[in-house]
């Protein structure tokens, strides 16, 4: 067991949460790097007077029991996910000081994505990366940082470039990103290195405290157990071999260029009144003006994508809403979209609506040939069918259905743009079904057409469709 810490206040003096072994010693092996780094972090927290607001995130690895030691708020997290958890903590309380403390397996293998993206977002957190070139906790397997030739329990013949890839250099990778403020690699090989490591950790935390953005300190640390060495050998190994692959130094430091608090994010508490106002502003501008319906409308609107089929459905549904009825609108997506058709189902109903999909419409608007062929047979007897006669060929069954053949696209073109063919159809539909008066629908359109400069065009198109039906009787 390693020796008792000379305690900074940010470490507990007795490790009450520890379940096995002495509560005065750590669970780390003799000569392990983790204990030293814990102490450096705690000293920095003391110095910067941020211990009270600090949150320590320990993912799986030998340091998963960080919460035994740190007298701070503590999160234990899933393997590799520490940077994501730290993000969730920091964003929810930007006043907290968040330390994501990760091993090499955690940070550079299973958690690579979380690592890179937290850095790329410039999360205002401090990542402490313990690079011991091995998986300590699970029994000395290869880590992403294991060196070429290094033996581990999963590289019993030594790591080879061809079979296992090269050691990953994280500082070098992260330093290519614009967002991080500070990236440094330090070591624990000798007392000079240790002093530098202490300074780097302090600097990283200070950057976070001042809201200057993402800070990252990689620490080359000995794992005598995983390396199968005694502590002095491990230290020598670190100095002789690791440093060559992982050169120490500052990889990025733009902390002077970053203003204080420039990377703070807002997070306001839940204020009921503010939310109330915000939500109320979402309400429809349409006032309720009840109109009784002689029958429910179960509509299918179908045509090519781009003909405004879905919008036609939305318009009718909102007219129905204004009239005080139950309405549903459902756009076909997935397998129903085959054959170049877009379609939607709209119900305007006096009672609770069952299926939002319309199996047997009493209104079909068919704006292309495939739609006509696909849906005509589904219409209930006596239903209405509206067909763009300029686009479709063939006549629906006039015995069975109330048929309106209308060259909607041509009419729309005369009004000003073929894009309003859908509203020509809406005019025809309202005129033929006699469900909604023309002025009622037009007043609705004035409110719901999103682009105000298009309102007139839409009203004209509606009138043209309406008159086509009324004129033809």
């Amino acid at each position: 067991m390693s020796k008792v810490f000379e305690q900074p206040h940010s470490l507990y003096s007795e490790f009450e949460r520890k379940t096995a072994g002495s509560k005065k010693t750590t669970h780390y092996c003799p000569g392990c790097g983790h204990g030293n780094v814990h102490k450096m972090i705690a000293e920095a927290l003391d110095d910067l007077e941020i211990a009270e607001r600090s949150v320590f995130v320990s993912p799986v690895g030998c340091s998963v029991f960080g919460y035994y030691y740190f007298n701070s708020g503590n999160f234990q997290s899933a393997h590799g996910r520490a940077a994501a958890v730290a993000t969730g903590v920091k964003r929810a309380n930007p006043d907290s000081v968040v330390i994501s403390y990760q091993g090499d397996g955690d940070l550079a293998a299973i958690g690579t994505a979380e690592t890179i993206h937290a850095a790329n977002r410039g999360e205002n957190i401090t990542v402490i990366f313990i690079n011991n070139a091995i998986y300590g906790m699970t029994g000395g397997q290869m880590a992403p940082t294991t060196m070429i030739g290094q033996r581990s329990t999963t590289t019993p013949r030594g790591r080879s470039e061809v079979d296992h890839g090269n050691p990953v250099r994280v500082c070098e990778m992260l330093a290519t990103l614009p967002a991080p403020t500070y990236i440094e690699r330090v070591g624990l090989g000798n007392s000079k290195q240790i002093m530098k490591a202490r300074k780097a950790i302090r600097k990283a935390l200070k950057i976070q405290k001042e809201g200057r953005g993402y800070s990252f300190v990689e620490i080359l640390a000995p794992c005598p157990t995983g390396w199968k060495m005694d502590p002095p050998q491990a230290r020598d190994h670190l100095l002789d071999t690791m440093e060559e692959i992982f050169p120490l130094g500052v990889y990025k430091d733009i902390s002077d260029e970053r203003e204080e608090h420039s990377w703070d994010r807002l997070s306001s508490p839940f204020e009921v009144e503010k939310r109330h106002e915000y939500l109320q502003a979402m309400k429809t501008p349409l006032d309720l003006e009840p109109i009784e319906l002689p029958t429910d409308l179960n509509c299918k609107f179908a045509g090519f994508g781009g003909q405004g089929i879905l919008t036609l459905g939305l318009f009718l549904a909102q007219v129905g809403m204004k009239a005080g009825h139950q309405v549903s609108w459902f756009p076909a997506y997935g397998p129903e979209m085959r054959g170049g058709t877009a379609n939607c189902s709209v119900n305007v109903s006096r009672e609770r609506i069952g299926a939002p999909t319309v199996e047997h419409p009493n209104v079909l608007v068919a704006m292309n040939q495939p739609s006509l062929e696909m849906f005509e047979k589904d219409i209930v007897d006596g239903g209405w069918i509206f067909v763009d006669s300029g686009i479709c060929t063939g006549e629906p069954d006039r015995e069975r259905l109330k048929v309106t053949m209308i060259p909607a696209a041509e009419i729309a073109d005369k009004v000003g743009t073929p894009k309003v063919a859908n509203v020509v159809m809406l005019g025809a539909l309202c005129a033929a079904t006699e469900m909604f008066p023309a002025d009622y629908v037009k007043d609705t359109l004035k409110v719901i057409v999103k682009r105000q400069e298009l309102v007139d065009m839409n009203l004209k198109a509606f009138d043209a469709g309406w008159e086509f039906v009324r004129k033809d009787g």
């Binding site: 969730g88 964003r91 309405v327 459902f330 756009p331 997506y333």
Partner: protein
């Protein structure tokens, strides 16, 4: 009453905002993406958090972080993404954190397709990730319920310190209906005794799911188990339609319950005495209500957008008291009322099993 015509997916965010949710983390996927779109629009406007995460794995772990601070938070996805959230859900349940997770189910397995299915039922109701845990699973069938049940999910999550989930199919997510805009309500839970906020008051707290000693972990599991039993007792929700004198009970949830609902009156007009029981909570499952019916009816029919998942819970509730029939479509195919009516006719004529 202020109303708006909106997509089911948008209504989820409406409910979340009213419930005081302050942070949304998500990754795009059809047919759930509108939820992220709405969150991206509204959360920052209220100085809340929105992050498009690098994956569903990251998103659920961001939720873990915010939930551990005792702050209302959520994520949403669709089937393949929900699978990725299982690791996080297990940790959230293990650490007893309140969080809301939405699954707008699409066709599977694998990449499947983007069409509606209910084939994630097992994953949603039986835990889904590793370990002894359960998550509350609510199954809305309208845009209004997408909003209301999301609000309820936040309350249940806080009440039990447990994930609460929404399982909706692609249709319920994609369709638009009129929704009453809810009144925001204050968050009634103070989590200072366990959460970690990064302040003096919560400094001694720990968010963790690790219990190294088997004795301790067993106790922890038993405590969780007792909680799940309490939820099973107190939080079952369901709706019935014309079940009083029903001879054939139909059990269906989500969009299927809407299709079945539209067939009931028609079947009755033909003299077929059918009634609908719609689970609103699929975990806890309305087993007791189904058991009661099973003593009176001639048969029960489970209708699902799957090859048969919920039916297992129906069978467990019925314990052989009456025949249990199944009708399902899958792969994105949705049954019409006509084919469902045909099932009633066959079953009631004593044909199918």
């Amino acid at each position: 009453m202020a109303r708006q015509f909106m997509k089911g997916n948008d209504a989820i965010i409406l409910g979340a905002l009213a419930a005081g949710c302050r942070a949304y983390y998500g990754y795009p996927i059809t047919p759930a993406s509108e939820i992220a779109h709405a969150a991206a629009l509204h959360f920052p406007a209220l100085e809340g958090v929105f992050i498009q995460a690098e994956s569903e794995v990251a998103a659920i772990n961001m939720v873990y972080g915010t939930a551990g601070m005792g702050i209302r938070t959520m994520t949403a996805s669709s089937s393949p993404g929900y699978s990725l959230k299982q690791e996080g859900l297990s940790y959230i349940a293990g650490a007893e954190l309140p969080a809301v997770v939405v699954n707008i189910v699409r066709g599977g397995p694998g990449l499947g397709n983007i069409a509606p299915e209910q084939a994630d039922y097992f994953q949603m109701t039986k835990g889904g990730g590793h370990g002894n845990y359960r998550v509350v699973a609510l199954a809305p069938n309208s845009a209004q319920e997408m909003c209301d049940l999301t609000m309820l999910a936040f309350d249940l999550a806080d009440k039990y310190r447990n994930p609460a989930t929404i399982m909706a199919d692609g249709i319920t997510g994609q369709m638009m209906e009129v929704v009453d805009i809810p009144e925001p309500h204050p968050v009634p839970y103070d989590h200072s005794d366990w959460c970690v906020r990064g302040d003096a008051a919560t400094r001694q707290n720990l968010v963790s799911s690790i219990y190294l000693e088997p004795e301790e972990l067993e106790q922890h599991n038993l405590k969780l188990h007792a909680k799940y039993q309490k939820i099973t007792q107190d939080e079952v929700r369901f709706e019935e339609y014309r079940t009083d004198d029903a001879e054939l009970l139909i059990v269906a949830y989500g969009v299927v319950s809407r299709i079945v609902y539209s067939t009931i009156d028609q079947a009755r007009a033909e003299g077929l005495k059918v009634g609908l029981l719609r689970p609103i909570t699929i975990w806890p499952f309305p087993s007791e209500a189904i058991r009661r019916h099973s003593e009176k009816v001639k048969g029960i029919l489970a209708v699902e957008l799957s090859t048969g998942q919920m039916i297992e819970d129906v069978r467990l509730a019925v314990e052989g008291r009456c025949p249990v029939h199944f009708y399902g479509r899958c792969g994105g195919m949705v049954p019409g009322g006509k084919e469902i009516l045909e099932q009633y006719r066959t079953i009631m004529a004593g044909g199918a099993h």
